[in-house]
């Protein structure tokens, strides 16, 4: 149920400029609106894209969150790999990593 809340946060942030503004101004208060686990909340507070990925967030939501945080495409891809290295395999959803840690299939 909570992964749903994590993804709902990403969905709403991606499409609502007002929430993007609040993300910049007062992130803790914005996160209070979602029923997140402590780990999910920590991942979002520390802008840890790799952990959000491991927690199972859908990539179609996550890649826009990464862009919002100012990450380039190669940086986003690398953040997911590092997330798996630090936190283990993706725990839920359909966006698991199947390549090796140093296998850069698109060169990034």
């Amino acid at each position: 149920m909570s992964l749903y809340q994590l993804q709902k946060f990403l969905y709403e942030l991606n499409r609502e400029p007002a929430l993007q503004e609040q993300h910049r101004a007062d992130l803790p208060r914005l996160l209070d609106r979602y029923q997140l686990t402590a780990e999910e909340r920590r991942a979002l507070e520390t802008r840890d894209v790799g952990l959000v990925y491991v927690l199972g967030a859908n990539g179609q939501l996550l890649m826009h969150y990464a862009a919002f945080l100012g990450m380039s495409w190669p940086a986003y891809i690398q953040a997911m790999r590092e997330g798996v290295a630090r936190h283990g395999p993706v725990r839920a959803g359909v966006y698991a990593m199947t390549t090796h840690m140093d296998e850069k299939v698109a060169g990034v």
Partner: protein, 273 residues
């Protein structure tokens, strides 16, 4: 005879958003193939364009996810993503609410479809429009098949939806074009991004070109996820076009382009009675 054109094409955001990171030797022939498709579309003289897409949580989310949806507005807008990220400027896109409503009423005779009077296009529709109607002068009827958030409608329902779309397009006097957009095998937005199962793609395309219903519907989502990644679920859009057009397909372009994260595909299909 009001379905006058049918085709499928890729819609990956990298096709426009990461254009500068691609090798020109791979990118430019794809862009040329989109250009040829644009000319073929124009030659068919459609009065509106029905785009069967597989959106990515731009309008529909897991709080209320329709398996099938059709837009019913006179105006849409897009892209919903950062225009700089996608490489396509944000703008208004014309729709046709009256035509949409006629199509929806007929589709509903056999498939329960959701309608949407608001719709902000994501790359799934904007990338094809960027190439096919760059002046945004053709009214669009957006159609969505949920290929993102499981549970997903089974493939045979995508086929039934395509049949319903055909019946609907046949029921109106307007000349209509139908474009299905999606990927075949791909693992977008993951560390695997760029992985492409070319053999699997070519098998799917072979079944599609032959318009072999039984073979197209023989895949299971478990097979698809294993062989083609979560992006492979989008073959639902191609299947619905095959069901609607009923004719033989013609593959015009296929090339795996890793930085675009998909086997880039352009194909047309004959409209059979």
């Amino acid at each position: 005879m009001s379905l006058v054109f049918a085709a499928i094409c890729s819609h990956a955001p990298g096709i426009t958003g990461r254009a500068n990171m691609a090798e020109p030797a791979l990118r430019d022939p794809l862009y040329a193939a989109y250009g040829r498709l644009r000319e073929q579309l124009r030659a068919a003289q459609p009065q509106a364009l029905v785009v069967v897409a597989a959106e990515h949580f731009a309008n529909f989310f897991m709080n209320n996810m329709p398996s099938f949806a059709i837009g019913m507005a006179d105006h849409y807008s897009g892209p919903i993503e950062d225009p700089a990220w996608l490489g396509i400027p944000r703008r208004e896109v014309p729709g046709d609410a009256r035509l949409s409503q006629q199509l929806i009423r007929e589709v509903m005779q056999s498939v329960d479809v959701a309608f949407a009077e608001e719709w902000r296009f994501d790359h799934g529709i904007m990338v094809p429009l960027h190439f096919l109607t760059p002046d945004y002068d053709l009214p669009v009827v957006p159609v969505n098949i949920n290929c993102q958030g499981p549970p997903l409608a089974p493939l045979h329902r995508a086929w039934a939806f395509g049949e319903a779309l055909r019946r609907a397009t046949d029921s109106v006097p307007e000349r209509l074009a139908l474009i299905g957009t999606g990927g075949i095998s791909h693992w977008p937005a993951t560390p695997d991004s760029g992985k492409i199962n070319e053999a699997w793609d070519r098998e799917v395309l072979d079944r599609w070109v032959r318009n072999d219903k039984a073979a197209l519907l023989a895949y299971s989502d478990l097979d698809i996820y294993r062989e083609a990644g979560q992006g492979g679920f989008e073959i639902r859009t191609f299947i619905s076009v095959a069901a609607a057009a009923r004719g033989a397909g013609h593959l015009q372009h296929y090339a795996p382009i890793p930085i675009f994260a998909v086997g880039c595909t352009i194909a047309t299909m004959d409209i059979a009675p």
